[in-house]
Symmetry: C2
Subunit: 503 residues, 2 copies
């Protein structure tokens, strides 16, 4: 393994790297100098991508071969060297450094090797949390309430002030679904004080009704909510996620398929949204396993960056309220700032908040927020597991929140997102066939467009210094970190234009 | 929050604590001195429990009240102070220190505030892993193969040399089940090169056959395999785990209910085991959703510490092989040394290993081991999620393995388990009504007995300096750490006798 660099040690100046045997040189001198003149939030990152080899380089190939003996490698996009990655730039073992607008599938919030996170990772509190991991439901630390209040709950969505912690987005959604089922059955029974019947207690051990409820979660076509058995039954993005896995017979409604640019298709889009809402209501009324909750992403992320209007979500909230169905906002990918709001559902301007909001990814921990104590099951041990989350990750999220506040990164991302969107509009005007259905205006840097040769587009981008991801069938999705700045946007735009020309 | 103690700082001598206003003094001076003369693996732990208040003490009550505002507290057993916990002793905010033979539901392997783990938690490699968490399936570090080979795979069960990493026991089981379903359907199709049909690809998006398979996982009555929707469908320990949650209609076989002492019920027990195997075979042949795998715990842990003989497991292996069903050994609670073998299924002496072995808890990370590359799905992205485990936890497990090797803790646990079992036999002879069905002979410290007033037994134990847990309807289960020694066993036995007398 390569030697680890001490925190804060300076990287050799990029200009030197560039003049010392760079295999490819994607950015003109003028461009690089313009970039270098702008101050990055992350002072040790290079001023521009560094390309030393083709992809994958010889060291990456070797590391990949070694890994393939023992671990799944067919989904590997690139081998990374995290000790050398900095800020917005991901390094590989061959010395390449790419501007990373994919960011570990949208899960790196404040940059690689963030110095503030590094400090927190070295505190006695963090070390303690790592080596003494508690069973949080049974033996919480006396400091756990403080950790929650100063971190996870400090950024709780408006109206929601309780949290169940979890490990990742998938189990966060599953425990939210469990809460919905328990809540619904409790209502049907007549309240929290009504005990289970002997028939329920007996039948549930055979996985049969009435103990096992005959209820469902309603999700939307092309949604993604994770890959465990319950959440996978609500995931509808791609067959490859679901094939061969048993699934619950749960209902799905069509998500509005908006046409772009939005202002040119206002009427059609409004009709599509109303049709979707009508379908939701029809399914709620008629599905043979009644929905206990509707789960929805503010922006369908894995499914292809599909948006809907605030009006759609306001009506969805009203509809679920009308039918006494819970509304779960899955903010696993949209949460924590990237849309220019801390939570993407803030864009909806609801008076009546979602019943639960799930989170993970950029939070580096996971769980769901809720408000009503009715959503706390009527007895203990109904929502329980050994770890119930991880204090060390809660401490990390707290540090991420501090960094977001210190640098005002949510507002920043809203602003830089507007700039980036404007630049992309320029590109789309110039190369309409390569930047189709540009979307995400006013949604921070959570921007996407369609390209008919999408996979080739993504592959070629590395050669121009960019690590970028896709979603759905043909979308190129931008998921930069919250420390992505205008000068990064310039580098990105320059590279995207080169990719388009090279296709 | 109380000030954190630096690593290695000496705790005030226990004798001083004991003479300075201890509210209760559970151990005689002779006992304490005998204990103090024996060297603990963990040099900073007290020689005996320290009791300063009743349970819960005033500071614990206050912390609990604060936590209840924002987090589930009804399952709280005690509030802990991990900064003050040491080795086998868990501290609380009131200054009490209990000998912990529950160990965060069997998940602390080498002691609280283990100095070697503390060192590893402070290494640049760990800090890097914490602050740069990768999407392992897409962007693994070039060092990931090395981390796996020097840690998780170094202790791979015999015959299994591949691993899929996960977050906790529940998702480890679920991804093992997914692998079983994909494997079975691949066989039915005629091999990995046969592609999905258009009907499969279309139907799966509606959660219908043939794309969603009509298969099952066979588990045993009173088993526990986790609480997500798939694994909960195989969990059969308690109604409270399952009530109101939709479940798959999967089959369950009776787990042999052995009578104790084993040598006095050899014939009956053999019959019970054969009856169970016959039921398994019947279910495999007849269940309307054919099982793709059988999942079994080497010792049913949450379900009440239910054992079966090596012969039973050998025959179960043969039966599953005969019917081309995969065998999954769920070692989430039994794994990593506590039974006196690194993996409890080593006690079975199989020639033909289980197809998959799942792990978590004492490993502090999770996943499943497997051998056949056929269990690697035929295409990428079928077994995938953003994080796919956590390198920081893999590093922690590697450090735990080092510590186990350095102190030879598996052999040690086999030996101290024999000693502890002998002492418990003595107690059972003296108080037969309080130590019923003593079990776990030759299984390290993985020992249990039944008590008719079990919950009261557990509660009272704190007053005598012991933190101890239960399982099933009436079992007291011992789950000490691997650094539990004979002098701890003496303290435990003395306390258990006092509890029994006080009931």
């Amino acid at each position: 393994m390569s030697a680890l660099r001490a925190a804060g040690a300076a990287r050799p100046a990029v200009a030197q790297s560039l003049s010392a045997g760079v295999a490819q040189r994607p950015f003109g001198t003028a461009g690089a100098m313009r970039m270098a003149a702008v101050k990055s939030f992350h002072k040790d990152e290079p001023a521009a991508p560094i390309l030393k080899t083709k992809f994958p380089g010889p060291k990456a190939v070797e590391a990949l071969k070694e890994l393939d003996d023992v671990f799944e490698t067919r989904s590997v996009n690139m081998m990374a060297d995290y000790t050398q990655s900095e800020g917005n730039y991901i390094a590989d073992p061959d010395g390449n450094m790419l501007l990373d607008v994919y960011a570990q599938i949208a899960s790196i919030p404040v940059g690689y090797n963030n110095p503030e996170l590094r400090k927190v990772a070295q505190t006695p509190e963090m070390v303690d949390a790592i080596i003494n991991r508690p069973a949080l439901g049974n033996f919480p630390s006396h400091t756990w309430a403080g950790v929650l209040k100063s971190g996870i709950l400090k950024v709780a969505p408006k109206g929601l002030n309780n949290v169940y912690t979890a490990m990742a987005g998938s189990d966060a959604n599953e425990i939210a679904y469990k809460a919905a089922f328990m809540y619904r059955r409790q209502q049907e029974r007549g309240g929290p004080d009504i005990d289970f019947t002997p028939q329920e207690i007996e039948s549930v051990m055979n996985n049969q009704a009435p103990g096992s409820s005959q209820l469902s979660i309603l999700s939307f076509k092309s949604s993604f909510h994770g890959r465990l058995f319950g959440c996978l039954s609500t995931t509808r993005s791609k067959p490859i996620h679901k094939l061969d896995i048993p699934a619950f017979d749960w209902p799905q409604a069509t998500f509005p398929q908006l046409k772009y640019p939005l202002d040119q298709h206002a009427e059609e889009n409004a009709e599509a949204e109303q049709a979707s809402l009508d379908e939701v209501e029809h399914l709620i009324k008629t599905w043979h396993l009644p929905p206990a909750a509707v789960v929805v992403e503010p922006i369908q992320s894995e499914g292809g960056d599909n948006h809907a209007s605030p009006s759609f979500f306001q009506k969805l909230r009203a509809l679920t309220r009308k039918h006494n169905i819970l509304l779960i906002a899955d903010e696993v990918q949209t949460g924590v700032g990237a849309t220019g709001k801390f939570w993407a559902h803030e864009h909806w301007n609801l008076q009546d908040p979602p019943d639960m909001v799930t989170f993970s990814k950029k939070a580096q921990t996971a769980g769901y927020y809720y408000c009503s104590k009715d959503l706390r099951p009527n007895k203990p041990y109904r929502q329980f597991n050994t770890w119930m989350g991880d204090p060390s990750k809660a401490l990390l999220f707290r540090a991420i929140i501090s960094e977001i506040e210190r640098l005002d990164l949510v507002k920043h991302t809203a602003k830089v997102g507007d700039y980036l969107y404007g630049q992309l509009e320029g590109l789309a005007g110039k190369y309409p066939e390569h930047f189709k259905n540009l979307r995400g205006k006013g949604q921070g840097t959570f921007i996407a467009f369609d390209n008919p040769k999408r996979d080739e587009f993504l592959n070629k981008a590395k050669g121009f210094g960019i690590n970028i991801g896709g979603s759905g069938a043909s979308a190129v999705r931008l998921r930069p970190m919250l420390i992505f700045q205008e000068h990064h946007a310039d580098i990105l735009i320059e590279a995207l234009e080169k990719v388009a020309k090279a296709l």
